[in-house]
Amino acid sequence: MGFFKRQLPMIIVSVVGFLMIVSYFSPAPFLQGMFTGANEWVQIIANFALVIGVFSLMRAHYIKIKRKEAGYGYSIVMYICLIFMTFVGLALERNIKSGGVFMWMFKWVNTPLTMTTFSLLAFYIASAAYRAFRARTFDATVMLVGALILMIGRVPLGAMLSDFVHQQITVTQIIPGLPEMAGWLLSVPAMAARRAIFLGLAVGIVATSLRILFGIERTYMGGGD
């Protein structure tokens, strides 16, 4: 049993992983076919896993309804939506087209709901910024000033303000406008930091991949300490 749970998956990971690397360096059809095939296998497995996932979701909500836990009404709504959309997508409309029920639900139910959740971000950013941007230390003050320049410099108001000041006080024209300052912050210091993180990430990804391929890292298979 240990062989099927540990050794065999490990062999599959190593062999497929190394072949995928080799396929990057070789145009040989069998390697390219294997690369495409492996990607298709991932999709097939993901779709089968989705069935397990949906059952897991249904089970979790069934338990909620059965135990009448707080907010179990939402679980009933989930069941209704799941059944309705599955029926429309699989039985009612085989070919999903603009103007149909499925697209109507997509456009007028799913889209506004997700847009609303996403738009909450604007409110959360404001409250997080209010809390975080405090001039507690020198470093925090630098970050605060940078954030203020960026926020005002990235909207038309920043350009208007800069133009106004430049016109009224001629000597200030030697100082770049707020949009230029914001652009510089983005393309120089922010970019430098981002590239440093990217570099670390790239090396980290290769190192992590190598320890998975060499079988050094097995924790994700339920092994480890």
């Binding site: 897991s56 907010g71 090396v203 994700y220 339920g222």
Partner: protein
């Protein structure tokens, strides 16, 4: 006197040069818009690093390109199945002046500056009906709107499409990969003999015990999210590695662990990992599969469900480890509002500021990948980290060196060794 002689020599030289240029221009046709001048060179070569399905036809640019660009000048390729012909126009092989020069395709031809004087076209050798590779013969013609029939070059060329087993233009990537793999393996061997390796402290990981202890004391659950990406992301695998350590601690402390998943595959994997961690901790009875479940593949459905769960269950500790997108702040701010201790870690650079703002600890970038080694203290994993560090040092030195050499390249653009170094690092 000497000045006059010099001036006289110059005058003679100028006249000679003018006469020579006139003859040369007359020969090649420059300044005579009435005639189309054929390319001097035309050849066929196998397409480098392809699977043996196409060839490249390469020819020198006609001097008429300079004089007749506004007259719709174009090259026509004629194909035949034997050297004797008949040659028929293949529609795909009409090459206009906006098409590629050899210098625009360094992956195929390299970086030589003379390539800007040549054009090329890639021609498939696969028969559309039988899908078999067949050898063909080609002739080149040139035409514009002033002529009815193209002017033909006599040369007939052919090449065999060969299978290339190695993409030679990627040798630089291979070299760096082999170097890094070698370094990692050497460091692992070294770490086996020297297990007490120094690893700098990662506060976010040091806080894991405190975070689990806090939840146990408060009698509240711990929530663990593996992020936005599926199992094909290294960040998700790194997160699942950390989950194994967290789950073991949770089992030892007899607390409750909730793992809502965005992907079905990660759900099955996290179930397996947590189950195994509970077994390793000697508490298989405490494992509850219903606490590790799938929610939705859609980003904001997932966020809405997890936020709702946070508000209802009020976990004492939240772990956000993996790749995250726009949902990061929505999750972290909700966690903050319920007073949870929050440990985040992500490789998504856009989301790091949000996590730093709203969480107590944040693992930045590669710290997420290093966390598993840091927690386990396994010499082989620590050796891998050391290999990673050495690679970074080498890359930093190369970046510095590259900056200096590229700055020199501005002053000495003709130095071939500087060009060679530049091209080695070019992504092709």
């Amino acid at each position: 006197m000497s000045g006059k002689t010099h001036s006289g020599k110059c005058g003679f030289f100028a006249v000679s040069l003018t006469v020579f240029l006139c003859i040369a221009m007359a020969t090649v046709g420059i300044g005579q818009p009435g005639e189309l001048v054929l390319p001097a060179e035309f050849k066929a070569i196998d397409t480098p690093h392809d699977a043996g399905k196409s060839i490249l036809l390469v020819w020198s640019r006609s001097p008429s390109e300079e004089t007749r660009a506004d007259k719709g000048l174009e090259y026509v390729i004629y194909e035949a199945t034997s050297p004797e012909g008949p040659f028929k126009v293949e529609e795909k092989a009409i090459v206009g002046l906006e098409d590629t020069l050899c210098s625009d395709a360094p992956a195929l031809f390299g970086f030589s500056p003379r390539h800007k004087n040549f054009r090329f076209v890639e021609i498939s050798q696969v028969d559309e009906e039988t899908e078999e590779v067949r050898q063909h013969w080609y002739r080149l013609g040139i035409r514009d709107e002033t002529v009815t029939e193209p002017v033909m070059l006599d040369t007939i060329v052919t090449a065999k499409a060969r299978m290339n087993y190695f993409m030679s233009h990627r040798w630089n990537t291979l070299l760096v990969l082999l170097l890094m793999a070698g370094l990692v393996l050497v460091c692992i061997e070294w770490a086996k003999k020297h297990p007490d390796l120094f690893i700098r402290k990662i506060p976010g990981i040091d806080a894991v015990d405190e975070a689990i202890g806090r939840a146990t004391e408060m009698g509240k659950p711990i929530m663990y999210l593996t992020g936005y990406s599926d199992i094909d992301s290294i960040a998700t695998i790194a997160s699942i590695n950390i989950l194994a350590h967290v789950a073991k601690k949770v089992a030892q402390y007899d607390s409750r662990l909730i793992v809502p998943n965005k992907w079905a595959v990660t759900m099955t994997l996290t179930q397996e990992v947590v189950k195994q961690a509970y077994i390793n901790a000697g508490r298989p009875d405490a494992y509850n599969a219903d606490d590790i479940f799938f929610i939705a593949g859609e980003q904001f459905s997932y966020v809405a469900a997890v936020d709702g769960m946070m508000v209802r269950e009020k976990p004492a500790t939240n772990f956000f480890l993996g790749s995250f997108a726009a949902e990061s702040l929505l999750l972290a701010e909700t966690g903050f509002s319920i007073g949870a201790l929050q440990i985040a870690g992500t490789d998504s650079t856009y989301q790091i500021p949000f996590f730093v703002t709203a969480c107590d600890y944040c693992l930045i970038g590669e710290e997420l990948y290093a966390a598993s080694a840091y927690l386990s203290r396994e010499p082989r994993l620590l050796g891998n980290l050391k290999g990673q560090d050495i690679t970074k040092i080498i890359l930093t030195i190369l970046i510095l060196l590259g900056s200096v050499l590229m700055s020199l390249h501005v002053f000495y653009p003709e130095q071939h060794w500087l060009q060679a170094i530049k091209h080695f690092f070019a992504a092709l």
